[in-house]
């Protein structure tokens, strides 16, 4: 494919990348679970669009399967957390679990100190990464050598690569899925017994 044909896609990429960053920030800020999950979904959707503009259509569809599975269980967890929220339970009146929960929390003596530290530490860590970038890598971006030709990876290429070279990982993956089944059935059975 000629790279000149991709001019439209290039301009599209700016918009899509902006949208990805916007939705990631929004999904972190928004409090209501439903809205939050709409934004996470949009975040994944736009990252999928980006992969498609980079000519990875089939990879995007393959990757969407684990993402959807993960998102569904994540959404279930969030819903459950919202339903069994401590505010809703304390109105039951029968047993005061809420107070039992709150008394066991760490005493709020050094609360202000903790919140300051809690804000300062991430800022420092992020700043450390930025500083490391500027110390070590002035020439990182300049060193990119852009190629002229772009080819499209078909699913058959990926499958060929996986099954010719990485068969051993597929075997490990199958065994780990067995392990996952054993583990999850045990967890579910224990919850049911209780």
């Amino acid at each position: 494919m000629d790279i000149g044909n991709l001019m439209v896609i290039k301009n599209l990429q700016y918009v899509i990348l902006g949208a990805i960053i916007l939705f990631s920030i929004l999904s972190l800020i928004v409090i209501k679970p439903l809205k939050k999950f709409i934004f996470i979904f949009l975040f994944y959707l736009f990252s999928g669009f980006l992969y498609i503009t980079l000519e990875f259509m089939e990879l995007t569809f393959i990757l969407s399967v684990p993402i959807l599975l993960f998102m569904s269980i994540f959404y279930l967890f969030e819903l459950k957390k919202d339903i069994f929220s401590i505010k809703n339970i304390s109105e039951d009146g029968d047993i005061d679990y809420a107070s039992a929960y709150f008394t066991d929390k760490e005493s709020g003596k050094s609360d202000t100190k903790k919140t300051v530290l809690n804000l300062v530490a991430p800022v420092l860590f992020s700043a450390l990464i930025i500083v490391l970038y500027f110390i070590f890598n002035g020439g990182y971006i300049k060193s990119f050598k852009i190629t002229d030709k772009i080819t499209i990876v078909a699913f058959s290429d990926i499958a060929k690569e996986v099954f010719s070279n990485y068969m051993i990982l597929v075997i490990m993956l199958i065994i780990s899925l067995f392990v996952l089944v054993i583990w999850s059935t045990t967890i579910i059975n224990n919850r049911r017994k209780r």
């Binding site: 994944y44 990757l63 809690n118 919850r191």
Partner: protein, 110 residues
């Protein structure tokens, strides 16, 4: 120009993820921040693979296998969280601080 922009955007996404996972106390927000880091890495990989190397199958295979495995790991963690959420321990999974707790009690002991 284009790959520069992709790289800068993915770095910004990475920084958002790092800051978020250290800053937020809610387990949901930490997991979302982890997704940001993951997506940043995948964007880097695919962008570099396409624009610098004209698509290498190796990078695509790496992305495929490692993303599936990381999602498997996260799936297990969220599954465990989900199975432990019942009436009298809800909200117990919201940590009082971010992922790491910088307190003297954990460090030196009480």
């Amino acid at each position: 120009m284009n790959i520069t922009f992709i790289f800068l955007a993915s770095s910004l996404l990475f920084l958002i993820g790092v800051f978020g996972s250290l800053f937020f106390g809610s387990v949901t927000k930490i997991i979302i921040s982890l997704q940001c880091i993951l997506t940043a890495a995948v964007i880097n990989f695919l962008g570099f693979a396409q624009i610098l190397y004209g698509t290498s199958v190796w990078a695509v295979t790496f992305v495929l296998i490692s993303v599936i495995l990381i999602f498997l790991f996260q799936f297990m963690i969220v599954f465990y969280l989900n199975s432990n959420t019942y009436q009298y321990q809800s909200d117990g999974f919201d940590f009082s601080s971010g992922l790491y707790y910088f307190g003297i009690k954990d460090w030196l002991g009480e």
